[in-house]
């Protein structure tokens, strides 16, 4: 094996920054490796990867020390353009990287810019590599998020780089499509020998696809190890804000050292080898019917049909006759693949759109009879992208917009109270756009709370968040129960579903295909396969062990095996999902 990237004592400080973002990085990436870079927020992962293709220090001209050598050429004496034929970079916000109108034009862009005479053949090759030839003549804005991501990768692969760096590939994708992206990266790695570097905080994907793992902390590499060894150091990972995969946590609950399984199938064998199996009776887990029908109804959808006209004038059906009652006290998760109709259902509940047929009523008021601004007294909708909710120049201004506009008595008091609840008083005067991802979500939650709605709707509240911020948002959601009659979350995040929801509505191509509980959803393999949902690893493992309904957290799984975990079970760490919302404590 030869090294394709060598980093030697590299230090870097952004212009004007007080501290160094990279402080003495030593790292060697071998040709053909599949490397996952993990680490908490601000550990320097992205900056390091930008040093690979010369954006650091050529584009971001800060103070540097040490050297980065790519394919034998020191980046200091090269240019970004030269380096980009060796190292391709796909951004986390990949949709902003797409600059041309059609897919073919986008993919050929770099090859044409470099004036390569074989650009057409290369474009075709890149489209085939990513298996998106059928999309070639589509406009970029017609594509789904997952398709856009594949296009962004193809647009980089057209230069035939030796190394492909992908920053958080699956942040906004449903679990089914996330696996597709990774399968695709694995194929590039296996068939074309492309070295893959991903920045990733989903360690379950790291364990399954990566060959080596780089742990970063405070701008330096803590270690670079083969994936099995890296995952075995679950305590270290946890200490750096990177919780190990749930199957590793399960293994660590029984053995504090030694090898760990990397996938649920591995884990089932691992447990079997040690004679650990499920206890015959399933003692815990919610088994009652979904949602108490006796509770008062907050919102009702009655045979709702809706669709949008496309550019070609055809009517695309998004919801094909949905009947649904949402009751007081429910925590509803709305799941289904991208384009299943989740966001449309939320929008119909706000009254911003009225359905083509059927009625939507919230607290007895039909959205057809009143304007959305009147409906806003009852319903609040929090967008997927927080910046779209920041209408003023401060968090406080955004939170106050509704109570002041509606002359709510003691609006200032309410705003202060809400800001305290989401723990943002100290940032209240900043523009929401300048906050971190987790803070932005909490700020939008504050906007919602200040509206004091009966029905709160959230679109993907945990997407693009690292695990720590995500847990913060889930904890915040759990605390809303006292303030809001019913909360509906549209989400791809199955951990959020497992840890928070009491009721799950599954949409598939505009049809409501299941109305169930998290554990029953994850126990139904036919259903999850059909709608492309990937249950959390503990649920998969539980299913493999014959637990029905499957467990929703590591602690629950361990408790439901016959074996005794060791005395200081590490599974009860901060991210292990110790609380199981269920039928018993949530009524």
């Amino acid at each position: 094996m030869t090294a394709v990237i060598e980093v030697d004592g590299f230090r870097f400080r952004y212009p004007g920054a007080g501290v160094e973002s990279l402080r003495g990085v030593d790292l060697t990436v071998e040709q053909g490796d599949f490397v996952a870079v993990v680490g908490g927020n601000g550990s320097g992962k992205t900056t390091l990867c930008k040093a690979f293709n010369g954006l650091v220090p050529h584009y971001w001209s800060g103070r540097t020390e040490g050297s980065v050598t790519v394919s034998g050429v020191p980046t200091a004496t090269s240019t970004v353009a030269e380096l980009s034929t060796v190292v391709g970079y796909v951004y986390q916000d990949f949709s902003n990287q797409l600059v041309r109108p059609t897919v073919r034009d986008e993919v050929s862009f770099a090859a044409v810019n470099f004036g390569l005479p074989d650009h057409a053949a290369r474009t075709q090759e890149a489209l085939e590599m990513l298996q998106i030839t059928h999309l070639a003549d589509r406009f970029v804005w017609q594509l789904s998020g997952g398709q856009q991501h594949l296009v962004a990768i193809a647009a980089v692969m057209v230069l035939r780089p030796q190394v492909l760096v992908v920053d958080e590939p699956v942040a906004e994708l449903d679990p089914g499509r996330a696996a597709q992206i990774y399968e695709c990266l694995a194929r590039l790695n296996a068939s074309y020998g492309t070295t893959i570097v991903v920045i990733e905080h989903h360690t379950d994907l790291v364990a399954r696809y990566a060959r080596s793992v780089v742990l970063m902390a405070d701008g330096a590499v803590v270690w670079h190890l083969p994936v099995a060894e890296a995952m075995a150091r679950s305590a270290e990972l946890d200490a750096h804000g990177v919780p190990a995969p749930q199957v590793v946590q399960v293994a660590r609950a029984f053995e504090r050292t030694g090898p760990v399984p990397l996938t649920p199938a591995d884990a089932a064998r691992w447990l079997a080898d040690r004679g650990i199996e499920a206890r015959p009776a399933a003692p815990t887990g919610p088994t009652g019917p979904a949602g108490g029908t006796a509770r008062p109804v907050v919102a009702r959808l009655d045979d709702v049909r809706h669709g949008y006209r496309g550019v070609d004038g055809r009517l695309e059906t998004v919801l094909a006759g949905v009947d649904l009652d949402l009751h007081e006290g429910e925590r509803v998760a709305l799941v289904g693949s991208n384009g299943a109709g989740k966001s449309t259902m939320l929008r119909l509940l706000t009254g911003l759109r009225v359905p083509r047929a059927g009625t939507v009523t919230v607290e007895g008021v039909s959205t057809r009879d009143v304007s959305p601004s009147v409906m806003a007294d009852r319903v609040c909708y929090l967008y997927q992208r927080p910046e779209e909710m920041f209408l003023t120049d401060s968090v406080r201004g955004d939170v106050a917009l509704y109570p002041k506009g509606r002359d709510v008595p003691d609006a200032d008091g309410l705003v202060d109270e809400v800001l305290a609840l989401v723990d943002l008083q100290h940032l209240a005067d900043r523009d929401g756009r300048t906050l971190s991802g987790g803070q932005q979500r909490r700020a939008t939650l504050a906007v919602g709370l200040a509206m004091r709605p009966s029905l709160l709707l959230l679109d993907e509240p945990t997407s693009s968040l690292d695990i720590g911020s995500r847990d913060g948002v889930i904890a915040m959601l759990a605390r809303l129960a006292d303030h809001i009659r019913c909360v509906v979350v549209a989400t791809h995040d199955m951990h959020l579903v497992a840890e928070w929801a009491t009721r799950v509505i599954v949409l598939d191509h505009g049809d409501l295909v299941a109305d169930t509980t998290p554990s029953r959803l994850f126990g139904d393999a036919t259903l999850t396969n059909r709608v492309g949902l990937v249950p959390p690893q503990v649920a998969q493992l539980g299913r493999a062990l014959g637990m029905d309904p499957p467990p929703l957290s590591v602690t629950e799984l361990v408790a439901r095996t016959g074996a005794r975990p060791h005395a200081h079970a590490s599974a009860s760490g901060p991210h292990a999902g110790t609380e199981v919302p269920g039928g018993t404590h949530d009524a």
Binding site: N53, L55, Y59, V80, A81, S84, Y89, Y91, D93, N96, Q97, L98, V99, R100, P101, T102, D105, F109, A110, V112, N113, F114, G115, L116, H119, F139, W141, A155, V156, H306, R309, G310, D312, L352, R353, V354, R356, T367, S371, P372, S373, V374, A376, C380, Y381, Y383, E387, E388, M389, F390, L391, D393, L401, Y402, K404, G405, R406, D431, R433, V447
Partner: protein, 275 residues
Amino acid sequence: MARTTHDVLSVEWIKLELLRTAYATRGGLLATMDPRAVLAWYVLLALAPWFTHDATVLGLLFAFSVVMVVVSRVGPLVLGLFVVGLLTEGVYLAVAAWLFGGDVDTLMALAELTLKLGVVSLASMAAFVSLDPEKLSDALLALRAPTLVAFGVSYGYRMLPIFMEEFHTIVDGHRLRARPVPSRGLFAWRTVVNVGVVFVHAFYPMMLNTAKRTRTTVEALETRGFTVAAHDPRSRQVRLAHLRVTRRDVVVLSMTLAVVLASYGAGAVHPTSFR
């Protein structure tokens, strides 16, 4: 009145119509031509009305432009705006002429100008509805416009749908969260003022969100050789290699030239004065 979903004359419809217009999704005669030929066609027809004061010539040119608009499949939104514009201008001219003591002569002189502008507008519609962003940007590049201008045009088109969505979202946010309009007032003037205020307020978040988005875009452009292309003649060559003037282009251009000349000929034989 109960609210329902409308397929035409709604905000969604306007958004779709803008996209159809910008991306030339309807096809049509000019859309199948080489973009340089389309620009040449446009220049020819847009200049033609300015060398005469004769009503016969202008009438014929106007009729020809209408035919071209039809074969170019211009959408109802753009066409509707044009007709409304033309009608209101007619009314406005009549009122202005009457108020300032003008007579039919004044009106006719102004009608001549309106007719000329009408020909140019119709030609613009036909041409630009038929040019999708890549074609327009390639044509500009072929005509030696700076790389940045050519790219800017195509990038602007690329961002159009995103801006429209984001603007709509922000305006919706204001509708839901800001102070509602208490009553519509005479001729709904309060609603009109409110819409104006919301549009101004929407500017701030739009600007900042765009600035944030562009950071990635600019870096990505750098890694994909955009600045290299600006100085590299090979890149220009490769990009424009696909442009070909075909027989169809030549036929359409010569036919248009023939129509223009014939109109002037007819004007010489049967002159009709505006006065």
